[in-house]
């Protein structure tokens, strides 16, 4: 594709790339925020809310820059609150319901284990804005990974019930992890422009982290290689994203333009 792409195509693909980054953290941030006030312990409640706020902060940077690149005057808020399901570009794993504390933390862990090497690689992006956002975000991601790793091990290697819940969370989420390493024209264009590595090149790092943590957590890696897809291209989201957006966007939908 390189050489045949004109600048507009590159901008269009950069916009798609930025939506993927922003929507991942927006959707996970919103899901995490659903624990506010109802987490199993006060300390976890505050920690999860901090994580949610970190993710929403990262969203503002990614979607803010996406709006600039798009050049149609849309702000981060417009992109977050005024797009519909099929305009979202997050991976499917992040939009499925929290279910219980175990699945919430397992998902956080599987995503953090990707996000840390991914953001670390983006710090060397040829695009200075991407590199700057990654450098700010990666410190938060490292702490999130620290925390989710510890919780996955504690619950996996905990009681019979906590182990069973973590195993069932892992089994449920496993078919969704493959999408993190998907590749399409947007990935290739970003790779050729030096903006980002191909996600698949991070799979080895990710597997090292995941295998070591899950074995300490006394959990069994599912055998299946099946991978759902459709979230990061917007082709097909799960039924859950629409419900989530209905809650998340209700204020802007009911009172368009409402501001503090």
């Amino acid at each position: 594709m390189a050489g045949t792409s004109n600048p507009t195509q590159i901008d269009g693909q950069l916009f798609e790339f930025l939506l993927r980054q922003g929507d991942n953290v927006l959707v996970l941030g919103h899901r995490t925020s659903e624990w506010c006030g109802v987490a199993p312990a006060l300390e976890e409640d505050i920690a999860l809310t901090n994580t949610a706020l970190d993710l929403i902060g990262q969203t503002q940077l990614w979607l803010g820059y996406a709006g600039e690149v798009e050049g149609k005057g849309r702000s981060a808020n417009d992109l977050a609150f005024l797009r519909d399901v099929y305009d979202f570009r997050n991976v499917l794993m992040l939009e499925v319901p929290n279910e219980d504390f175990g699945r919430t933390l397992m998902r956080q862990f599987l995503f953090d284990a990707f996000q840390v090497p991914w953001l670390t690689a983006l710090c060397a992006s040829s695009n200075q804005n991407v590199a700057d956002i990654a450098a700010k975000s990666v410190k938060e991601a490292i702490y999130h990974l620290d925390r989710s790793t510890e919780t996955v091990i504690a619950l996996g290697d905990g009681t019979e019930e906590s182990n069973a819940r973590m195993q069932s969370a892992l089994d449920y989420l496993w078919p969704y992890v493959g999408e993190l390493f998907g590749e399409d024209d947007v990935d290739k264009a970003m790779h050729e422009a030096g903006v980002a590595p191909m996600p698949a090149t991070l799979r080895g790092d990710w597997e090292t982290t995941v295998n070591s943590t899950l074995s300490q957590a006394c959990l069994t890696l599912p055998d299946s290689k099946f991978a759902h897809s459709g979230g990061r291209t917007g082709f097909r989201h799960t039924e859950h994203l629409g419900h989530m957006l209905a809650t998340m966007q209700t204020l802007q939908r009911s009172y368009p333009g409402a501001a503090w």
Binding site: A41, L42, E43, I46, A47, N50, Y143, R147, E150, A154
Partner: protein, 94 residues
């Protein structure tokens, strides 16, 4: 056996050169977990550069009922304060 996490006392150093100050307590499964919880509960508004946690039951405290014998004898020993010296004006502020 209680299923409640043990209680930890949290000490935070606000800036380099200052001493750690007791800021409160929280529950956590172990000391590493307590440090992380303390980070999230007590430093989220940029309050600290260092955290200590101590399991509350490891702290030995003086008993409030011993207050008389413990502290009253020191109340009338004013000569233990360095307040009986005349400081020449030339010394300035001490």
């Amino acid at each position: 056996m209680s299923k409640e996490w043990p209680l930890w006392e949290v000490f935070i150093r606000g800036q380099h050169g200052m001493s750690h100050r007791h800021v409160g307590s929280l529950h956590a499964a172990d000391s590493e977990h307590a440090i992380k919880n303390a980070r999230d509960v007590y430093t989220r508004r940029n309050e600290g550069v260092s955290i200590w946690v101590v399991e509350a039951e490891q702290i030995t405290a003086s008993s409030p009922s011993d207050k008389g014998p413990m502290y009253d004898p020191a109340r009338d020993k004013v000569y233990r304060h360095p307040t009986f010296y005349d400081i020449p004006d030339e010394v300035g502020k001490m």
